[in-house]
């Protein structure tokens, strides 16, 4: 079966690198082709990497609290760049402070993210969702 490609990165002025390193490892182990743009990644870098590699999904991490501001507009930019339908996942500690996750999820879904994850989500969860969303049978 054809290998699916994921673009991974930590958005904005965020330097939290540990989770990113584990995600790269976990998604690679799970059989995906991982294109990691690392920390301090701009929206443009995510899109460029996705186009260049013909990626099937973009997985955005934001840990440091500015996620709400940094993630806004990414879907629109994807549309402008001709990859409007690409899967967009976001996870980490997306907002400032301990907030009720249902409302955080709603805000990010409204911004065009297909899946939104609460703090501490284990990689296995996203692997499972990717398989569903990309139609991969185990």
């Amino acid at each position: 079966m054809e290998q699916k490609t994921l673009v991974l990165g930590v958005i904005g002025a965020d330097v939290h690198a540990v989770g990113n390193r584990i995600l790269v490892y976990a998604f690679t182990q799970a059989g995906f082709k991982v294109v990691n743009i690392g920390v301090l990644a701009s929206q443009e870098e995510f899109i460029r990497a996705a186009i260049e590699t013909g990626a099937d999904a973009i997985l955005v991490s934001s840990l440091y609290g500015h996620g709400e501001m940094d993630c806004r507009g990414l879907r629109e930019k994807c549309q402008e760049s001709g990859i409007g339908d690409i899967l967009l996942y976001a996870g980490g500690n997306l907002v400032v402070g301990k907030q009720d996750f249902t409302s955080v999820e709603a805000r990010f879904k409204a911004m065009g993210y297909n899946r939104v994850y609460p703090p501490g989500t284990m990689p296995e969860v996203a692997v499972e969702h990717l398989r569903q969303d990309l139609g991969i049978s185990k």
Binding site: R21, Y64, K98
Partner: protein
């Protein structure tokens, strides 16, 4: 300007100063003479170095939180709460991440948006945007000394503004605020930025104003072996003192094994004094700061209180001068002021109950101290060799060579070759040495300890062990045993 450990000359400093103060409009508010006068009028109780000296003399461990929000009044309210309800001995002003990356426009947008939505949209206090007099309002609104805590590779303008604003302590350093906090900034340039900051503080000291400097000990906060953070701390202490800094607080982030943590706290000032002395620098006041566990926390608050308490215990038994406190919200998000004060009170209860207790010297402790001392000396001596005696030059080359290497760091100027893992008692050891200049004896010691753990767990040491260790404390353990 060529890289060297030597004190920056006046012209170079003034040339940069012009440039730095022009980076954002609030730079205009800085007036050095006025700032010196302002500091001289501060009561002793608001001066970090004075209170640290007292604590050091009486063997007390102080508690300090992290805290910062976007707007001034809210920030003052937060600090007052931590002082009055948390019993904080020292206060922080944690700077937001846009400011840390010198993105003042984005910080401004964050300020505006925070005003509109009525909650802080920034993860800290944008001190540059708020300017000098706002900082002074903060200092004047509280009783305890206030420190700038951040993570800024180029913190020159931030230093100018906050120090003119009456803050008496400045965290960071050319390595510790680069390697964990940046991706594309060369070490040469951050060392230079920080030499500017240290020189600025040197100037304050020459004018009779005491400003304490605190290299950021924990680095990436995740399984950093003591020899690495100690080597960085010593380098930054030397770099700072060379520019005229007179009082330095060296930091270390809890690893979790009590013996290793206490040994680390005890050896840190020993190493710093040894190298400052050897390199011919004047007597410096050295104090220590212990950071409660800096890696991933458990989400459950009751469990988080356990982790916080264990950090407070190691700080107290290791006789750190101060401890930086985590909160029960750590795993989830920036804490509310209530959660922050709760972390402080838990910590202070432990500090007070333990203040008259000590951990006696034992064979285990002596072994651990010797290991840390030997490893750190091997790294530091190689750095000095690389630099032909110049620690600034040597540091750049040592990072290139991977002679010093920080695990899990985002910076591309860091080799990223070493891999740490816990031994079976939870002490942090090395699974992969990268290019660390260790002797065979030392390597054997690490290998043997990790192999013992492997035997206990019935598996070969591998990256999976490292991952398990990264998750461990968050999942209620210290050693990441195989999931069953």
């Amino acid at each position: 300007m060529e890289l060297t450990v030597k004190q920056m000359d006046r012209e170079e400093f003034e040339r940069q100063r012009q440039e730095v103060l022009a980076q954002w409009p609030t730079g205009k508010e800085v007036n050095f003479e006025d700032a010196v006068a302002y500091h001289k009028a501060l009561p002793k109780s608001k001066i970090f170095a004075e209170k640290l000296a007292e604590g050091k003399a009486s063997g007390i461990t102080y508690a300090q939180p992290r805290a910062g929000v976007a707007l001034i009044n809210e920030h003052i309210e937060l600090l007052r709460y931590l002082q009055d309800e948390g019993g904080a001995d020292f206060l922080p002003t944690t700077i937001d991440s846009y400011t840390r990356q010198n993105r003042y426009k984005e910080a401004q947008a964050g300020i505006e948006e925070s005003r509109v939505v009525g909650r802080s949209m920034l993860n800290g206090f944008p001190a540059v945007n708020h300017g000098v007099s706002a900082c002074r309002r903060v200092v004047e609104s509280v009783k305890a000394p206030v420190q700038v805590r951040h993570g800024t590779p180029d913190g020159r303008l931030l230093a100018e503004i906050t120090l003119a604003g009456g803050f008496t302590d400045y965290e960071g350093g050319g390595i510790s605020y680069n390697i964990p906090y940046a991706k594309d900034v060369s070490i040469e340039s951050t060392i230079k930025y920080w030499q500017y900051v240290d020189r600025l503080i040197g100037l304050y000291e020459e004018h009779g104003v005491k400003i304490n400097r605190e290299p950021f000990g924990p680095l990436t906060g995740t399984l950093v072996p003591p020899c690495i953070s100690h080597a960085v701390a010593v380098v930054e202490a030397v770099l700072a003192v060379a520019q005229g800094v007179k009082s330095v607080t060296l930091g270390y982030g809890q690893c979790g094994n009590l013996i290793q943590d206490v040994a680390a706290l005890r050896t840190l000032p020993v190493l710093a004094e040894e190298y400052l002395n050897k390199l011919g620098y004047p007597e410096t006041m050295i104090t220590t700061v212990f950071h409660q566990w800096m890696g991933g926390f458990p989400q459950d608050e009751a469990k988080a209180y356990g982790v916080i308490s264990w950090g407070a215990t190691a700080a107290a038994l290791g006789k750190a001068t101060k401890v930086i406190v985590k909160t029960p919200h750590e795993a989830l998000g920036i804490p509310t002021k209530e959660a922050n004060a709760a972390g402080l009170r838990t910590t202070k209860q432990i500090l007070n109950m333990l203040k008259d207790q000590t951990l006696p010297m034992t064979d285990d402790m002596a072994l651990e101290q010797n290991i840390i001392l030997s490893e750190a000396r091997l790294i530091l001596d190689r750095i000095l060799e690389f630099g032909e005696g110049d620690i600034a030059v040597g540091t750049v080359r040592a990072f290139q060579a991977g002679t010093i290497d920080v695990p899990f760091a985002p910076s591309r100027f860091n080799a990223g070759k070493i891999l740490p893992a816990r031994d079976t008692q939870g002490a942090v050891r090395l699974l992969d040495f990268g290019n660390l200049p260790f002797t065979d004896d030392i390597k054997e010691f690490h290998k043997e300890r990790i192999a013992k753990r492997g035997r206990d767990e019935g598996r070969d040491p591998s990256f999976q062990m490292v991952i398990d260790d990264i998750y461990a404390i968050g999942k209620g353990m210290l050693v990441g045993r195989p999931r069953s």
